[in-house]
C-alpha cells in the first residue's frame, strides 16, 4: 500500500514541479525577451509583474472549451493529454541527486528518448483533429522536424553513452564525478576519480563530446519546437500551428508541455554531457570542494542550476535568431548535424577502443 502512496506522491511532486517551472519560466521568458528588446515586460500585476503568469493561468482555467464543429472530437480532445503526458513521463527517469531518482531504469536513456518521440504523435493528432489548414500544416511540419532531428540527437546520445558505457541515467551521472565506479580520465589520460568537479564531466572526459553537446543543443531546440525552429507554431505564418484551435485548459496543457519539454531536454543534455547532479567544483589539494558540494541537496541544486542556465540560453536564442525556412531546417539537419553526429559517434568508438582500453 505504502508503495503506491509513494508512487502517487512522486507523480504529484513531478507535476507540481512542472507547473511551477512553467509559471516561473513563462515569466522569465517574458522578462528576458523584454530586456533583450529594451522593454520592461509585465509590470502591472504585482511588483514587477511577478504575479502576471498566475493571473494568466487563472484566466485560462476560466475559459470555455471550444471544439470546432468539424473537428474530429476524439482526436482533438485527447491530443493535449498525449502531448503533456509524453513529456511528463519523460521526467520519471531523470535523476536529481545521488540517491534521488523517481524511477531507476537500466535503459533510462532509451526510455526518455522514446517517450519524447510520442509527443510528435500528439502534435499530429492535434493538427489533424482540428480540421484546420493551419493546424494541419503546423502538425505536418512538426512531425517532419521532430522525426528528422531525432537522428542527430540519437547519434550524439549514443556517442555519450559509448563513453559512459551505460544506458542507466543514474550510472551515467555517477561516472561523471567523485562517486564514480569506473575509472574516469580527464581528456582520456589524467585520472580524476578523486578530483572530480568539472574535469570529470563527459564533455571533458572526451572533448569531442563538446561538439556532440552543441549538436544535441541545436537539435533539442528543434525537438521542443522553439525558435529558431518554431516552424510548427510560427505565429506569423500559421497563427500558432497545431494549437490554433485550442482554448482554456487544453491550451494550457499544450503550453505546459512546451515548457516542460524545454526543461526535459535541458536536463537530459545536462545528465548526459554536463555532469548531471555533479558539482563543477574539483577537489584541489586539501581543499575538498567536490566532497563538500556533493549530496542530495547539492545534487538538486546543481542540476537545477545547470538546467536553468540551459533553459535561459534557449530563451536567449529564441529572442535573437530569426526562424529558419523549411528547406534550411532540413539542410541543417541532414547535411550538417547528421554527418557531424556520425563523426562524433565514430570518434567515440575509437576513443573507447584506443585510449581507454590501452
Amino acid at each position: 500500500m505504502n508503495f503506491y502512496l509513494i508512487y502517487f506522491l512522486v507523480a504529484i511532486a513531478i507535476f507540481g514541479f512542472i507547473a511551477t517551472f512553467s509559471l516561473v519560466s513563462v515569466y522569465a521568458e517574458r522578462k528576458i525577451s523584454a530586456f533583450i528588446q529594451d522593454r520592461l515586460g509585465p509590470m502591472e500585476v504585482g511588483k514587477y509583474g511577478w504575479l502576471q503568469t498566475a493571473a494568466d493561468i487563472l484566466k485560462l482555467i476560466q475559459k470555455e472549451y471550444i471544439v470546432p464543429a468539424l473537428a474530429d472530437k476524439v482526436l482533438f480532445t485527447i491530443a493535449p493529454v498525449i502531448i503533456f503526458v509524453a513529456v511528463y513521463l519523460g521526467f520519471v527517469a531523470l535523476p536529481w541527486a545521488p540517491s534521488l531518482v523517481p524511477a531507476s531504469m537500466n535503459i533510462g536513456v532509451f526510455y526518455v528518448f522514446a517517450i519524447i518521440s510520442v509527443e510528435a504523435v500528439g502534435i499530429l493528432m492535434a493538427g489533424w483533429g482540428s480540421n484546420n489548414k493551419y493546424s494541419l500544416l503546423g502538425a505536418v511540419r512538426s512531425v517532419a522536424q521532430m522525426v528528422s532531428y531525432e537522428i542527430p540527437i540519437g547519434f550524439v546520445i549514443i556517442s555519450a553513452v559509448m563513453i559512459s558505457q551505460s544506458l542507466d541515467l543514474q550510472v551515467i551521472n555517477y561516472n561523471q564525478g567523485i562517486l564514480a565506479t569506473q575509472e574516469i580520465k580527464f581528456l582520456g589520460f589524467l585520472n580524476v576519480n578523486h578530483i572530480g568537479g568539472v574535469l570529470a564531466w563527459n564533455v571533458f572526459k572526451a572533448p569531442h563530446l563538446l561538439v556532440a553537446y552543441v549538436i544535441y543543443f541545436i537539435a533539442s531546440l528543434a525537438e521542443c519546437n522553439r525558435a529558431p525552429f518554431d516552424l510548427p507554431e510560427a505565429e506569423s505564418e500559421l497563427i500558432g500551428g497545431f494549437h490554433t484551435e485550442y482554448t482554456g485548459l487544453r491550451f494550457a496543457f499544450i503550453f505546459l508541455a512546451e515548457y516542460a519539454m524545454m526543461f526535459l531536454v535541458a536536463m537530459l543534455g545536462v545528465t548526459l554531457f554536463l555532469g548531471g547532479w555533479n558539482t563543477p567544483l574539483p577537489n584541489i589539494g586539501s581543499l575538498h570542494l567536490a566532497d563538500y558540494t556533493t549530496g542530495t541537496f547539492w545534487g538538486i541544486f546543481w542540476v537545477m542550476a545547470k538546467c536553468l542556465l540551459v533553459v535561459a540560453a534557449q530563451m536567449w536564442i529564441r529572442w535573437t535568431l530569426p526562424r529558419l525556412r523549411v528547406d534550411q531546417l532540413m539542410t541543417l539537419c541532414w547535411k550538417v548535424l547528421t554527418p557531424l553526429a556520425f563523426a562524433c559517434l565514430v570518434v567515440s568508438g575509437l576513443w573507447r577502443l584506443i585510449l581507454l582500453s590501452a
Binding site: 523584454a34 530586456f35 533583450i36 522593454r39 520592461l40 536567449w316 529572442w319 535573437t320 535568431l321 550538417v336
Partner: protein, 195 residues
C-alpha cells in the same frame, strides 16, 4: 559546406552577443525626457519603455491636442466654424440689444452664443480654427489622452448660456426689432405726411 557552417555559427554569435549586450544594459532605464531637452539623443542604452500613464513624456507647447474655448472671450464671429474643413464646430448666435461688454483683449462683444459645440470625434486637429480666431479664445491645450464611454461625450459644449437665458435674449431682440420697426414705420409715415 564547412565554411558555410562556420559562417552560420559566427553570425549567430554576433546576433547573440548583441542581444546579450542589450540584456545587460537593461539594468538601467532611459530617463523620461522631452525631445527638446538637452542630451535627448545621448541616451542610447537602457530600457526605452515609458510607463504610461504612471510616467508621461513632456509634450511640446505648440502641439495639436484637445481644443478648448474661453467662451467669455468669444465674440461669436463664426470664423472658426467657417474655416473648419470638417465642419465640426456648430455655433448659434443671437444679436444682443446693446453692447454686451468687452473681451480681455478689448474687442467689443455684440453677440450671444447659446450654442457652441465642437465635435472632437470629427475634428482632425488641423488647428485652422485657432489661427483665424480674432480674439484667440479658441486654443489647443496640452491635454492629449481623452477617452470617453460614449461617442456623444466627444461633442464638447462650450456655451455658458442656459436655454431660459437664450429665450429671454431672443425675446429682447424681437422686442427691440419690433420697436425699431415701429419707429421706422412712424418715421416713414411722417415723411409722407410732410410731403
Amino acid at each position: 559546406m564547412i565554411k558555410e557552417a562556420f559562417n552560420g555559427l559566427r553570425t549567430a554569435w554576433k546576433g547573440l552577443a548583441l542581444t546579450l549586450k542589450h540584456f545587460g544594459a537593461a539594468s538601467e532605464s532611459k530617463k523620461v525626457k522631452g525631445i527638446n531637452e538637452a542630451n535627448y539623443f545621448g541616451q542610447q542604452a537602457g530600457i526605452a519603455t515609458v510607463q504610461y500613464p504612471h510616467q508621461k513624456l513632456p509634450v511640446p507647447e505648440v502641439g495639436r491636442y484637445q481644443l478648448d474655448v474661453v467662451i467669455d472671450d468669444c465674440i461669436v464671429c463664426d470664423l472658426c466654424a467657417k474655416i473648419c474643413p470638417v465642419d465640426c464646430i456648430d455655433i448659434e448666435s443671437i444679436k444682443a440689444t446693446d453692447v454686451i461688454g468687452k473681451t480681455s483683449d478689448g474687442s467689443v462683444k455684440r453677440l450671444y452664443a447659446p450654442k457652441f459645440d465642437i465635435d472632437m470625434a470629427k475634428c482632425m486637429y488641423c488647428g485652422l480654427c485657432t489661427t483665424v480666431c480674432p480674439t484667440e479664445c479658441i486654443i489647443m491645450t496640452a491635454e492629449y489622452d481623452k477617452s470617453v464611454t460614449h461617442i456623444s461625450d466627444l461633442n464638447y459644449k462650450f456655451a455658458s448660456m442656459t436655454d431660459a437665458e437664450a429665450a429671454q435674449k431672443r425675446l429682447e431682440l424681437e422686442q427691440q426689432l419690433a420697436e425699431r420697426q415701429a419707429a421706422k414705420a412712424a418715421a416713414l409715415k411722417k415723411m409722407e405726411e410732410d410731403k
